[in-house]
């Protein structure tokens, strides 16, 4: 029972970071209808920016996280303008390829610049709390807290503010949104900024727990895709629920069966779910391509 609860806690911790990364991905998909394959690499960049801010520039943990989110938000806008905008109307496989190109460039540029080895961000909250026999490190609790706060804030932003609702409007109907005077280009850029900014925060949150390395983004990016599909492309509640489900599958599968194969359980679950529901758990029927 204790092992189970421990794994559930770890699963929720993992799942809540997955949820924020997946949220950004699903928002971008809702607007551009393109899977941003480089999303995981932006997450990785976020961790690196945070690392350098702390170790070289002597930032404290929280300011470094905020700064990293701002830098990556800008990075997201640049990515959108350089990589996705030119192929927006090309259709077919063009946007996929463009995104793959971005992925290759970012990951290898980091390897060339800072080496393939891992780094560790000093843990700002090394304390441990024990509840009902479950060990919870303060940092892990913090991850869950910040993740849920971000999710709530994002919901409020999208549902209650005018700027936020333009995102939803464009996702629902691009032509309609243009007709009522929404600047689609600006909304795309804004969505990308939020998306990569969120990824950076998620990376900064878990960086003190895990190592950071150039290849850390690939796996997380792929998992974010699994989640986004589990939840249905473009669905925000789907991304949150999907993130938690994947975190739990991994933690429980890894804890009870095999740690080496924990990722196989997650990907396997995706294949199974898609076999039953080709558009994901919360997805609507998508016509055409």
């Amino acid at each position: 029972m204790e092992l189970f609860l421990q794994q559930v806690f770890n699963g929720i911790m993992l799942g809540s970071t997955y949820a924020i990364v997946a949220l950004g991905l699903t928002m971008v998909f809702g607007i551009l209808h393109v899977p941003n394959f480089a999303h995981g690499q932006m997450y990785m960049l976020g961790a690196y920016v945070c690392f350098f801010l702390i170790t070289i520039f002597g930032f404290a943990y929280w300011p470094a996280m905020a700064m990293s989110a701002v830098v990556l938000a800008l990075g997201g806008v640049i990515l959108e303008v350089l990589v996705f905008k030119p192929v927006r109307n090309a259709g077919g496989i063009a946007p996929f390829i463009s995104a793959l190109g971005a992925l290759i460039i970012i990951e290898n540029a980091v390897v060339v610049l800072w080496g393939p080895e891992g780094h560790r961000i000093p843990n700002p909250y090394p304390g441990i709390i024990e509840v009902f026999g479950i060990t919870m490190s303060t940092q892990r609790l913090l991850v869950i807290g910040v993740a849920f706060a971000l999710i709530v804030l994002l919901q409020i932003f999208i549902k209650k503010t005018t700027l936020g609702s333009t995102i939803e409007a464009v996702a629902q109907n691009k032509e309609g949104a243009t007709l009522v005077g929404i600047n689609v280009n600006r909304v795309s850029a804004l969505t990308f900024a939020i998306s990569t900014g969120l990824a950076a925060v998620a990376a900064c949150l878990v960086a003190p727990i895990f190592m950071i390395s150039p290849s850390m983004g690939m796996m997380v990016g792929m998992k974010a895709f699994v989640i986004v599909i589990l939840g249905g492309l473009g669905s925000i509640p789907g991304a949150i629920v999907g993130g938690l489900i994947l975190g739990l599958i991994e933690a429980i599968g890894g804890g009870y069966f095999s740690a080496a194969y924990k990722d196989v359980f997650g990907f396997g679950a995706l294949v199974l779910i898609l076999a039953i529901r080709p558009t994901g758990l919360f997805g609507k029927e998508i016509k055409g391509r």
Binding site: P35, V87, G92, A94, I97, G101, V271
Partner: protein, 325 residues
């Protein structure tokens, strides 16, 4: 006959050059590079079938290449099978896995399919790296024998020790692949592939069973990917999980896109030019992948039809100027 020669002389010349190449190139290193290019051309051609002709973004292509490679490695090295039995068995295994995986995966469309196959590729990569007993884990399998000799008792025996013989072996399989792809894509079934790529809903409306079309294309593509993988394992002699990695899929993607998607010559040209280009760019080693990523983006934005598209454009211009004069 004369008419056939007139329209096909170019291909005949290419074939003669291809056959004579080992006589000209005696440098072991270059010979190896060229043999590998031919081998990757098989993989690129098969990716082109599912990606170009059928419009389905399969990101598990490298994984199926790896299934062939591991299949041959395990069957010949661990179990001591004859290569000529192991190769078709591995390719058939890959085709069968393609069938099993395609059943659920091809029910999805567009981005969903791309991501599902990416996950499948990752599963196969993880299995290759972790199933110690079968795959040797991250160290892989070393000491895979070269293809078994083909012997006709009393008449001749073909061995595959020399580089020239390996070259001809790969060339044979490339020609086989080109032949199958040519027959397939020019047939009525090939038309249904293209129709599915262009508009899935419309194809369904005119009575094409798009699911079965995509499944067939996926199975054939994976069969040939595994065939290339199997030969690769045998010629190189050692494999590691990296053959299943996404990088492998990226390489094939690059060959297809830079060469020219949805053409038969494009992927072969891509598989030839890029590795040779890489030889000249050795000094850029660290920046190679960055350059590739950059190239991918530039090509997809400005030359979405790759080298073959560029060639067709130039040819049309010349024709027009001739008509004008």
């Amino acid at each position: 006959m004369m008419k056939w020669l007139k329209t096909n002389w170019f291909y005949l010349v290419v074939l003669v050059i291809a056959l004579a190449l080992p006589l000209v190139i005696t440098n072991r290193y270059y010979s190896q590079v060229i043999t590998m290019s031919l081998l990757f051309a098989i993989g690129a051609l098969s990716l082109n079938l599912i990606l170009g002709f059928t419009g389905q973004m399969s990101l598990a292509h490298g994984a199926f290449f790896a299934i062939g490679a591991y299949g041959v490695a395990i069957l010949t090295y661990t179990l001591g099978w004859n290569f000529w039995l192991a190769l078709p068995s591995s390719a058939l295994l890959a085709a069968f896995i393609g069938f099993l995986v395609g059943m659920p995966a091809l029910r999805t469309r567009g981005s969903y399919f791309a991501i599902t196959t990416m996950c499948l590729g990752e599963i196969i990569y993880l299995i290759a790296g972790n199933w110690m007993e079968l795959t040797g884990g991250h160290n892989g399998i070393v000491g895979i024998p070269v293809p078994s000799p083909i012997a006709v008792p009393g008449v001749l025996e073909i061995t595959f020790q020399s580089q020239a013989s390996q070259y001809y072996l790969v060339l044979f399989f490339l020609l086989l692949t080109v032949f199958v792809m040519h027959r397939l894509t020019k047939s009525l079934r090939g038309m249904t592939f293209l129709a599915t790529a262009l508009n899935e809903d419309l194809s369904e409306a005119v009575g094409i069973n798009t699911f079965r079309t995509k499944l067939l294309s996926f199975i054939v593509a994976n069969f040939f990917a595994a065939l290339a993988g199997g030969i690769y394992a045998s010629l190189i002699g050692s494999i590691s999980p990296s053959v299943a990695s996404l990088t492998m899929t990226f390489n094939f993607l690059m060959f297809v896109l830079l060469g020219g998607i949805t053409t038969l010559a494009g992927p072969i040209i891509g598989a030839f030019i890029i590795p040779i280009l890489l030889e000249y760019l050795q000094f850029l080693q660290d920046y190679q992948m960055i350059l590739f990523g950059f190239l991918l983006i530039v090509v997809i934005i400005y030359f979405p039809t790759g080298f073959m598209g560029l060639y067709a454009k130039v040819r049309d211009k010349i024709k027009k100027s001739r008509v004008g004069a």
